[in-house]
Symmetry: D2
Subunit: 348 residues, 4 copies
């Protein structure tokens, strides 16, 4: 492999477009060769800005391109399984947006395929690359707060997603809380063994029609004894609010940024600051570092920073949380494991 990684991007939606821009212009050792999207308008918009990049309607043309070593899959979630499997078989290094799939069985299939072919498959849990989280993780692993015993995750969107997106997204837990499921495993270095979930619609009545929620509280117990709570919400009319706390035996770490710009207005009504408008603002740097990490790890023949198995474990947690929510009962995750084959020996 040359010193520059030849890349393709499949899907030019919100995130795919961003990833493509990053690969085309901000990462020295990446070369974006082609992009694909069935939407001709998006395709034109991108290729007019980056004339050296080929644009295809059909993602298969990207997979078939001999000169492309790595692909970023940012197509709709329900296409992740098919395209990832095809990409692995086409010998590409793969970056797939989260969630890896909506279905645990499909995710297991990808894991199996990945391990069979020793393929490089990275899942897009970008928070792990945010400077706040990386600093916290470094301090945590250095023992600065002792052993972690409790993790609290809050993820609040300023508004519900468009109904069309929500319908295909797997819903609040699989679309949003799955970030925190990944974070909790990553921070605690342990797996969840018990889950209880409570959720519903507190504000966005339209989500009821499609069986989705705007608020969920998830309680997880981990194998190592630690507890975790996760709140996912679409109800933060004040802005985008992601906050994580890790309590350890000698201290705690808090990660979160509510404010957008460093300007404060002071009047007789008090002080006033703006708030984070959107996840692309909050995690702008994380998305960039994630791509840079993907390119570097492929070029240096390293393991992916976030593996297909990481993607699977988060899906299994999400699936169990949804089941607890439906039944209204706590759930031992080993029950879920048996049903889903999670961790079972025939897995590999």
């Amino acid at each position: 492999m040359t010193a520059r990684l030849s890349c393709g991007v499949i899907g030019l939606g919100r995130l795919g477009f961003r990833h493509a821009e990053t690969l085309a212009g901000r990462i020295g050792n990446a070369k974006l060769e082609a992009v694909s999207d069935p939407d001709q308008e998006r395709l034109n918009l991108f290729t007019s800005r980056f004339p050296a990049v080929l644009g295809f309607s059909d993602y298969r043309e990207v997979l078939n391109a001999k000169n492309i070593d790595a692909v970023v899959i940012a197509s709709p979630t329900d296409t992740h399984h098919r395209i990832t499997m095809e990409a692995i078989r086409a010998g590409k290094r793969v970056f797939c947006e989260k969630p890896l799939t909506l279905d645990a069985e499909e995710a297991r299939g990808i894991v199996r395929e990945t391990e069979k072919y020793h393929a490089f498959v990275q899942v897009g849990f970008m928070r792990r690359f945010d400077p706040g989280y990386t600093v916290a993780k470094t301090r945590l692993d250095a023992g600065e707060i002792g052993d972690p015993v409790f993790v609290r995750c809050i993820s609040r969107d300023p508004a519900p997603p468009p109904l069309e997106f929500a319908r295909a997204s797997g819903g609040l837990i699989q679309d949003l809380c799955i970030h925190d499921m990944d974070l909790s495993r990553w921070l605690l270095k342990s797996e969840a063994v018990r889950v209880y979930a409570r959720g519903g619609v507190l504000m966005c009545r339209e989500l009821e029609e499609i069986g989705d929620m705007d608020h969920a509280d998830i309680l997880l117990n981990f194998a190592g004894g630690a507890f975790c709570t996760i709140e996912g919400s679409r109800n933060a009319r004040y802005g985008y609010d992601v906050w994580t706390e890790i309590v350890g035996t000698r201290g705690a770490l808090f990660i979160g940024e509510l404010h957008h710009t460093p300007a404060v207005l002071m009047t007789e009504n008090g002080s006033q600051r703006d708030l984070m408008p959107w996840f692309l603002d909050r995690f702008e740097r994380a998305y960039f570092e994630e791509m840079r990490n993907f390119v570097d790890h492929v070029l240096q023949d390293k393991e992916p920073a976030v593996t297909a198995r990481d993607g699977l474990q988060a899906i299994l947690m999400a699936t169990a949380a949804k089941k607890s929510l439906e039944t209204g009962m706590p759930l031992a995750l080993n029950t879920a494991i048996r049903r889903d084959g999670y961790g079972s020996t025939n897995e590999r």
Copy 2:
């Protein structure tokens, strides 16, 4: 009743001593006549500082004193029921520290007695008097965040209580979380109808021996549809950390103060600030305002700001949370209601 309220304080422990000092020297329209404590040393410590105040070993002498109109009961929790009942019957205006009792039946007895005699009985949920909470409540009630749909309460102590105290305190939920149970009702103006609790010992193994916990997560659903989550913890080795969030249909309110003094150290290791050491520091003003409010309301013949019924409702929530925790199952609070006679018509 004269322009100054003649008061007695029963119990000179940590809080009783504070209340007595406040009444003796900081509240113009209060006059502290007597204090009582079976511990002669504490009694001497107080009366040597306030020679005009009488000191008794037996609380009954305070209750029997004709010139005393109002009593503050800050004796151990398991004596609250007895002394409160006697104080009501002695015609005193009563301020009783939280929790009103450990037992729901006893609390109901106090409520019945209070309503029968039209007695003045206030319960010591001092957070309602903290300037942070009063500002937030005013803004909430003014509709500044629309309708509240979610309340998150975090209460973290820097260390577990002494085992001796913990043994008699009713444990984490009745001693600590009960503050947030009261807050959630007060903020949401609604009653809880469903509860799920999860808890355990994450750090303080010694608490296991006495059947107590150092961490609990409680999920509550309210009659009006709102959700609430409460975390109670003894594990904040970094300091005393109480934090409340109220999410509404048009915004949110956050209440909390982590820092103790307004000094920041900046070095090549970053910025560093001290943290709140203890609840008496965090809620110093709240305890003062609470006493002032008690005195004013009695003198002006107003209803107590926090009633005996408020005390009972919080106990019923705590009792239900403990039951959910024991059974590992969610609990409809109306089940609890039936069993406890909570809200039943024969109550009054």
Copy 3:
């Protein structure tokens, strides 16, 4: 001297009333015997709340009272010199509000008298007792930021004082900036040797009529080589804003608190917090600790924490700053010293 200090308070204005309340009810080893004020209404207001305290129209009755060991002088500034001198001669321990005097010659007179009689005279620079400043001073003296080389002081009032008060106050520099002059000496443990001041009216035109200003910037050079800048302002319409920065060879210390209560409102307009309304809110604790320190130091026969000489030095700095402002020229403070006899050998 007994275990309780018998005190009198002269002047029941804003601060005098506060000091009297503190001594009467919040300090165990103090006993307030008498207060005086020519205003009968204020006197009645106080004695009706504290019936055990005698009230006099004439401060001389306080000075003549044999049972009073210590007096707090909080009368108008132009009476400080006379009453302090009389109090020293009456053998009282003296606490005098800042500024000690408006006139350097008068202040020198007090210092001379104090040193001649080994009198106890404390000056009311209360900021030294604020927990923020005491924490910072402790860290500074412990070498946590290395050697201090620069101090920046900002003091902003939310509004100009009433014209009547302003007229007698000595103006912006002697009334307000004098706090920061004291702070800079205290923090740097050095004396100013050069001053330049610039000031004027930026907003409050009415102050022009009485020859006062609403904004001043003062640049000081200290004997040890450090620099200091002081901003005094009446123009902070947003609140009361006192901020101090100390830059050292290895770090810095910042002291300041803009917010009043720990409640934050979050809406689509951003986050909003209230601001500190007034110096009595910001420095409430400092005023309390200052009184406690005064009582303790007298009872324990210690030196005053803030001496008459501290009062004089601040006045000399203020006088020099005013002179620089009038002439528009920088001023070597030793010039001022010669003129004022500051530091000269015939001083004592």
Copy 4:
């Protein structure tokens, strides 16, 4: 002119390299054609990462390239005048890093040439493009704090520059404080009429040898009556600290960000956060937006956002401040104006 602006970058030092990367890969409507630097190593480093960009040792090749419409001049300050003049005459649109020149006469020459040829010359005061400053400026201009009457600017570097750089930079005032001189004019929409400066070496003794300082305080009076104070310092061992306050008749605006990542460590030693390491971190977004603005304004035939005249005015302020510092006396800037021809009618 086509839809993409063909650009060249002259000088690949710290900032030139950054500008070249930005133009090459992050701005859709820019096309970087060539870069130049006498240092072959830097040149190779850049062209190996961007093979489509030509690299020259001699900047004249960039100026002579017919296909290049716009040049970014980021060469050493003492070459700005010569290259800018040549670029104007070569018909290029020019972006020149700050300061425009070190010498007022040379800056005037550039202004004259710019106005004679109706040339596009932008000066690199990037802070105007920082989201914090743009938000504040918008709120200021919308009247949210009334009329601005006072501006306080603090700019603290974490360390002195290398001596070699310092020697050619014009020193603390022309290199660092000039940013705040530009900010104050921009915010107040007025020109300075009086200046007093005080400065020296408080920590970095090595700067004395080359006649530079590590600390300066500059007091400015503006034509409209407003005051401004500027602190420039190399002594912030804790990090990079830029802070601006604007006080108006109805409120104030504060702009500043001390922290780098949104992670907080909480231990028994208090809370701890990291601090901003360096100006390239603090103003990363500003540098990007500045380039984007340059490209857009050229393509849309708009005036530069920061003009050559803005560059000149800041230099005149800096020159006057240096003169005040040398003489130790305040200086009417109209004196400076007469001497420098500043604002005189024969200027154009």
